[in-house]
């Protein structure tokens, strides 16, 4: 098993944001997490990526307990997430945004060398920019990008750290339908080409149904159902709680 959570919980005071969730991600899979607002999806991501420590339960990566590992150590291990609200380096160039992430896999305690002379890092950053169609804007200041481009840059920063497990938090939020389709294709292509293992949070049901291998449904912090896209769309409980209302609105 690549990544596994065992009865993981996160309480904020009396609020059970994530409550007793067992989750398993196998090698080579793309698994989506869906659920209404406030279901605990982002909290679950923050537990896996290391932003929060779990109240109870444990997280295993390749059978090793990483529950108390810091976010930077988990990134070095190969687990990284993108942010729902874009979280970039606004006054640096697009290239530098991605280059910094790529550089994190090298030692930085070399004070005499020029950062831009690390060819390996440069090439890695350029490759990521090419994958995401951001080569044209590489020398622009990140803050000047369009919303869609920022979303891609967000993914680019995560990709440049060469993750094994990539957690994508609503990568298509705020995108137009056309952009969403394009982003969907890019994500599923990346998953295959870079043999990434992806966990995806997404509101757009058409995206989820198209690219997921498996889906987990969260509701009020608890796991409601789990299965293939077909099983989930056939599940009555899920339809009642979520899909019935959600699908018609998102369609």
């Amino acid at each position: 098993m690549l990544l596994e959570t065992k009865s993981i919980c996160k309480y904020f005071g009396g609020l059970k944001a994530v409550d007793d969730v067992d989750f398993r991600l196998e090698q080579g899979r793309l698994k989506s997490i869906i659920g209404p607002n406030g279901a605990g999806k982002t909290t679950f991501f923050n537990l896996v990526s290391g932003l929060y420590a779990p109240t109870h339960g444990s997280i295993l990566f390749k059978d090793k307990d990483i529950s108390n590992m810091s976010i930077n150590d988990r990134s070095q291990l190969g687990i990284t997430k993108t942010y729902q609200l874009t979280h970039i380096f606004p006054r640096l160039t697009v290239f530098e945004n991605v280059r910094l992430a790529a550089q994190s896999r090298h030692t930085i305690f070399n004070f005499w060398r020029r950062a831009y002379s690390l060819s390996e890092v440069n090439d890695k950053a350029l490759a990521v920019l090419e994958h995401l169609g951001l080569l044209k804007v590489q020398s622009r200041i990140a803050a000047e990008l369009s919303h869609g481009e920022k979303k891609y840059l967000e993914i680019g920063i995560a990709l440049a750290t060469e993750p094994e497990v990539l957690l994508l938090d609503e990568p298509t939020a705020g995108m137009s339908p056309a952009e969403t389709i394009e982003a969907t294709h890019i994500i599923s292509r990346l998953a295959k080409e870079l043999s990434l293992n992806i966990i995806l949070i997404e509101h757009d049901m058409s995206v989820v149904m198209e690219i997921s291998d498996e889906i987990m449904v969260l509701h009020e912090g608890r796991k409601l159902a789990e299965g293939t896209p077909n099983e989930i769309s056939a599940n009555e409980i899920v339809q009642n709680v979520y899909l019935g209302k959600g699908a018609s609105r998102d369609a």
């Binding site: 930077n72 990134s75 979280h87 060398r113 002379s117």
Partner: protein
């Protein structure tokens, strides 16, 4: 056109972006013209500008590049100065060892503040550094009077250097060139540090600390090192100040010193490399000019500072760079 990067996809110049390359050239031009400075303005003023320029550069490593607000930088300068003065006064050693002692003094303060406060952010770090700065001031002023000379400071005999060549530091011009040489070397060293892989992470911390941590960097360690470098440069500046003044004075440790270095740095432009030197230069020049006409120079300098900051939002050098970049660089794209 840009140099090729061994890859036709890249529009990246290995020397850095436009601003970086422009600032590097500007710095070289400044180095070429600096030897003429003591013939334009007074020799002591020119010397003071170099020393405080270096101090401001060290300070801006934290403020402008890493985004850490320190209100206790007098501690690095002052402890550096007293380390140098005391080792000369009691140990009767030469200037080189004194400068080494000053640098180590700055380093030790940085380690101390780093251990106590580096995990604190924003105002919390600023207040802790201010408190520690004041602690050094009062320690030097009274409990340690026997060694530090308290309010009178420590006055040193005339200094000279024998190695690698003889320099009589009582000669104002020789003194200037000695301090200029050290200042230029230290500036170049800091330039290299800021353009290294490490230096780039500093800027990323300033831009988005949480994100760069999530990229896998140990942010606390990088910040700690940034503080160490700032302490080294500031301590060295303190040592140079002792060589220039021929004494260590308690004023160097006073909190006003910490406040004035913020003003100088902001005046020049925090988001630039060379801005702090420009800021220190303009500030010291204005102060010496105004104080020739009136005793209330602080009032006029304060008013001028406000006008300059309103006029140049990014500091004098920062706003100038923005203007030049817009006019001459973006118009070509």
């Amino acid at each position: 056109m840009h140099k090729s990067n061994g890859s036709n996809k890249s529009m990246i110049n290995r020397q850095g972006d436009w601003r970086t390359r422009f600032e590097f050239r500007a710095m070289i031009v400044a180095f070429i013209f600096a030897p003429f400075l003591p013939f334009i303005i007074s020799k002591p003023l020119a010397t003071e500008i170099i020393v405080y320029g270096l101090f401001a550069l060290g300070f801006n490593l934290l403020l402008g590049h890493t985004g850490i607000i320190s209100f206790g930088h007098a501690a690095y300068l002052g402890v550096g100065a007293y380390s140098a003065a005391m080792i000369v006064f009691y140990g009767e050693v030469g200037v080189w060892l004194a400068l080494l002692a000053a640098t180590i003094g700055g380093l030790l303060v940085a380690i101390m503040i780093g251990i106590l406060a580096i995990k604190r952010k924003g105002a919390y770090f600023a207040m802790i550094s201010l408190a520690i700065g004041q602690m050094f001031f009062f320690l030097t002023l009274s409990p340690l009077t026997r060694w530090t000379g308290g309010e009178d400071g420590l006055k040193l005999p005339p200094l000279s250097i024998d190695f690698p060549l003889y320099v009589n530091l009582s000669n104002q011009l020789h003194l200037y060139f000695f301090i200029l040489t050290i200042g230029c070397l230290a500036t170049l060293a800091q330039w290299r540090i800021l353009n290294s892989p490490f230096g780039h992470v500093l800027r990323a911390i300033r831009e988005n600390e949480d994100r760069i941590r999530a990229c896998g960097y140990n942010v606390s360690r990088v910040k700690f090192l940034s503080l160490i470098f700032s302490g080294l440069f500031s301590g060295l500046a303190g040592g140079l100040l002792v060589v220039y003044l021929g004494a260590a004075s308690i004023n160097l440790l006073f909190w006003m010193t910490s406040g004035v270095i913020v003003m100088k740095t902001v005046l020049g432009g925090t988001h630039t490399f060379f801005g702090p030197v420009i800021g220190a230069g303009v500030f010291l020049f204005l102060r010496s000019t105004i104080s020739e006409y009136t005793d209330r120079w602080e009032l006029w300098l304060g008013a001028l500072f406000m006008v300059l900051i309103l006029l140049f939002r990014e500091g004098i050098w920062g706003s100038l760079l923005n203007l030049i970049e817009k006019r001459f660089y973006h118009s070509k794209l």
